[in-house]
Amino acid sequence: MSDPTSAKNGSSPAVGTRTEGGVTFEVIIGCEVHVQLLTKSKAFCGCENRFGGIPNTRVCPVCLGLPGALPVVNLALVEGAIIAGLALGSRIAEVTKFDRKNYVYPDLPKGYQISQFDMPICVGGHLDVATEGGMRRVGITRVHMEEDAGKNLHLVDGSNMSYVDFNRCGTPLLEIVSEPDMRSPEEAVAFVESIREIMRYLDISDCNMEEGSLRCDANINLWVYEGGSRHATPIVEIKNMNSFRAIRSALSFEEKRQLEEWKAHRLTLDAVGKSTRGYNDETGETVPQRTKEAASDYRYFPEPDLKPITISPSLVEVLRARVGELPEAKRERLKSQYGLADFDAETLVVSKPLSAYFEEAAAGYREPKKIANWILTEVRSVLNERNVEIGQFPSKPEHIRELLEAVDDGTISGKIAKEVFAEMAVGGRGPREIIAERGLSQIADEGDLAKIVDRVIAANEKSVADYSAGKDHALKYLMGQVMKESGGKANPVVATRLLKGRLSR
């Protein structure tokens, strides 16, 4: 993470600054996000890459670190990294290599992790994140490839032992490092959520925090503005934030803690440097983590068991074509091509299948915004209820269009449309079929409607008298009765005309 101690752009406070308890400050946050890739096999061996399973059954000499074993790079790891880099606007390196990161821990069988140090596969990039204060552009420092470690379990079994499962060991990971561009815990959460959406959109990770396929550490400190100078508090790395809520909670706690610490001790980054704290979800607090200083000397050196990898422009182009339209471009296109609002475009873009569904439904329809609205409200409501994706939704996209067309041409009212939709959502039949079968067409025939209108007038003398006396609400009441009498099928426009006509005689 780049060091923000020097007040490069002067010492005057910027937009995100606040003043609390007499201290004017900005919160500076950067995130390191780890994303597990959805590949068939692990990063450096052929073991199956799958969550869970009976412990230590998806292991081999390579991922167990047995004597004599050697890593072999999985093409899908490199492809996944390139795809992520393309989506983030990074520069894809022409030559990249792996390095060994040496440290000791029971879940790290070789005593080193194969990672990338000075020649990461992707450099630079950005992500535009929607925050409460508007769009924030968060810079991406780099994206690199590495392997996951095993899993340690600590059961409360009085045995004073820990248990290690190496099924996860060797799972391909991307590490995405952001610039310290976030200015609040909420922005950090929004950033991680955006990463999650993009990775899921690209189909390279399911980014499930509960299962550990999305993990986040954050670096946070404060810039305190005082008498024309800017002071940086010590940077703290926060680990063990296992949900979006935890990220917000941990960073909020840390922000306050650093503020109090500044007031009490005025410690600066220059003097103290960087430390690590772990978040405790039960207490909502961060606590210092015991790390011996020497332990963080990773002694990086180039991985001698793997050759450097050259990435040709043609490989990048093949992957760029596979990705297709990136979310940012799609969002702009949905807005300009279909006239959709920011929020609707943003929401549709999140899911490739959902936006595809929308585009098919909106094809040739004169008011795409209505289609978008219907999909984002009615259709999504069903999907959420049933906890399924659009792929499992029984109605075809053209059915949505046909439904709205039936309202447009007066065949049914908006209210009836919802009923028809409810049935569509169950059986997957088209709206016209349902309307015909259940005789739901609006009654627009003047003769039929006139009879209903007359019946209602006859049965509601008081309301009629009220209306004559100038009480307009009586008209509403009478219309309600007409709708009731007609089983909701009266065409409102024709019915109103007939009713008014009768009443004015």
Partner: protein, 484 residues
């Protein structure tokens, strides 16, 4: 009729095919040779284990041959294997306490290929612990002894493999090199030893020491035997990214002796400097005389970068080793210290008890040269000088076909004479390490003896993947020069 134990692999193969010998007979003969020596006053201690079921495997090979299965080129032939190459189902210790109790769950690719060709691994051979040493004295099994003079070392680290071939307890053996650990013992024991080009033989299943340098090597009594094994074992391995797409299969047929006329050999004057035993120099001179008489052009050149070899090697190899040996921690396999109060003690005590002094020294040295503050001055500098060395050696090999030199500055030294002086021990590798650093193939051939009868080897180093040239030159020597 000669004893089976004094025949070459090629000769054994011919007699197995003709029916003159059986595999069971051959393996029995070697077993007897081993057992007789083991009972003697000063055993070679070349084998740390003889596989008792090897005889049964030999009988099975004979049965297969009777059924018409002689198509496997090396059917029923015995092979000794250094104790750092995995053979599925067999113990593997790298001559270290820290791997006592470990049984290999898979075989090295090279073993798979040789076994598929019909070979029978008959035993594990002694070595310096984790291949770190030049005398085979840093072994938890005690040192191996030189068959020519048992008060002397075999050289290391593949000392056991050299001893069993020289001592007629195996016709061929596999060893490994990182800085000379095949060529040095071959020289000390008077046999042929080949270090193939980096990448020629798969490293999958060879316990890693210095990953950018390691190669499995081959010991034999004649160059044809080395060629036979190389022809079967070499080639790309999908399990080893650093393995190369070589094809030496045609070396399996007869290896023709090279016509030396016009062949250009360079002797670096840096290898003729102070420290070279005059008796070794004499053998080299004699070899040069023979080569010239056969038409070769032999010239002395200056290659100052070679003086850096040992330093580069002893920075890079321990650095890689410190990382490669981090996995030996008692968590998943091997020795685990029981008297421990916590996780830290598990690591510290297992490793402190399990590793010998030299291994510890190299791990510490390796971590030192990689640690922050020292990385640039040592590891990075060594890598840069290595790059220079590769370039300058390459330039010489663009003007010459081979680089020629003694294999070692001295003949076999007495046991115990260098164990307490690591730097002196490291300087045994002074002529060999450049070939490992430059990824080149290098072969030590028995060129003569000292007046006292100690073997002296001469090494020839070629361009990358020029194994055929080396072997055919060695074959010429073996056919004509060695018997002068």
């Amino acid at each position: 009729m000669s004893e089976p134990t004094s025949l070459t692999l090629g000769e054994l193969r011919d007699r197995l095919q003709s029916g003159e010998l059986t595999s069971a007979g051959v393996v029995s003969a070697y077993r007897e040779s081993y057992r007789a020596d083991a009972k003697g006053p000063q055993p070679l201690n070349g084998y740390v284990e003889w596989f008792e079921d090897a005889l049964a495997l030999a009988e099975a090979a004979d049965a297969a041959r009777r059924r018409g299965g002689g198509a496997h080129g090396l059917l029923g032939l015995p092979l000794a294997v250094k104790d750092n190459i995995l053979i599925k189902g067999r113990p593997l210790t790298c001559a270290s306490e820290i791997l006592k109790g470990f049984t290999a769950p898979y075989s090295a690719t090279v073993i798979d290929r040789l076994v598929a060709a019909g070979m029978i691994p008959v035993g594990r051979t002694n070595m310096d612990e984790f291949a770190m040493g030049s005398s085979c004295e840093y072994s938890c099994y005690g040192p191996a002894h030189n068959p020519v003079d048992r008060s002397r070392t075999t050289g290391g680290s593949s000392g056991g493999s050299a001893a069993v071939v020289a001592g007629n307890q195996a016709p061929v053996a596999l060893g490994s090199e990182t800085g000379g650990s095949v060529r040095l013992p071959a020289s000390f024991c008077g046999v042929y030893g080949l270090k193939p080009s980096y990448g020629s033989l798969s490293r999958y299943g060879l316990v890693a020491f210095g990953s950018s340098l390691d190669q499995i090597g081959i010991f034999g009594r004649c160059p044809r035997d080395l060629a036979l094994l190389l022809s079967v074992a070499a080639g790309k391995d999908p399990n080893d990214e650093t393995s190369a797409d070589t094809d030496f299969s045609r070396l399996g047929a007869a290896l023709a002796p090279r016509d030396l006329r016009g062949l250009r050999m360079a002797i670096p004057q840096e290898f003729l400097a102070e420290g070279l035993d005059p008796e070794v120099r004499r053998v080299l001179d004699s070899f040069v005389e023979w080569a010239r008489s056969s038409g070769a052009i032999v010239e002395t050149i200056s290659l100052p970068i070679l003086d850096a070899s040992v330093a580069i090697y002893y920075i890079i190899a321990p650095a890689e080793a410190s990382s490669n040996l981090a996995r030996y921690d008692g968590v998943r396999y091997g020795y685990r210290e029981r008297e421990i109060a916590n996780l830290f003690e598990l690591y510290e005590r297992t490793r402190s008890r399990g590793f010998g002094k030299e291994v510890k020294r190299r791990i510490l040295l390796g971590n030192y040269v990689l640690s922050s503050g020292y990385y640039d001055a040592y590891y990075k500098k060594a890598q840069a000088v290595r790059t220079l060395l590769i370039k300058e050696v390459g330039e010489v090999l663009s003007r010459y076909d081979l680089i020629l030199s003694p294999t070692a500055p001295t003949p076999a030294f007495t046991l115990g004479s260098k164990v307490d002086d690591p730097l002196a021990m490291y300087l045994s590798d002074i002529y060999t390490t450049f070939a490992n650093l430059a990824l080149l193939p290098s072969l030590s051939l028995p060129a003569g003896r000292t007046p006292g009868g100690l073997p002296v080897g001469v090494q020839i180093t070629g361009r990358r993947f020029a194994e055929e040239l080396l072997l055919s030159c060695a074959e010429r020597w073996h056919a004509e020069g060695a018997t002068r």
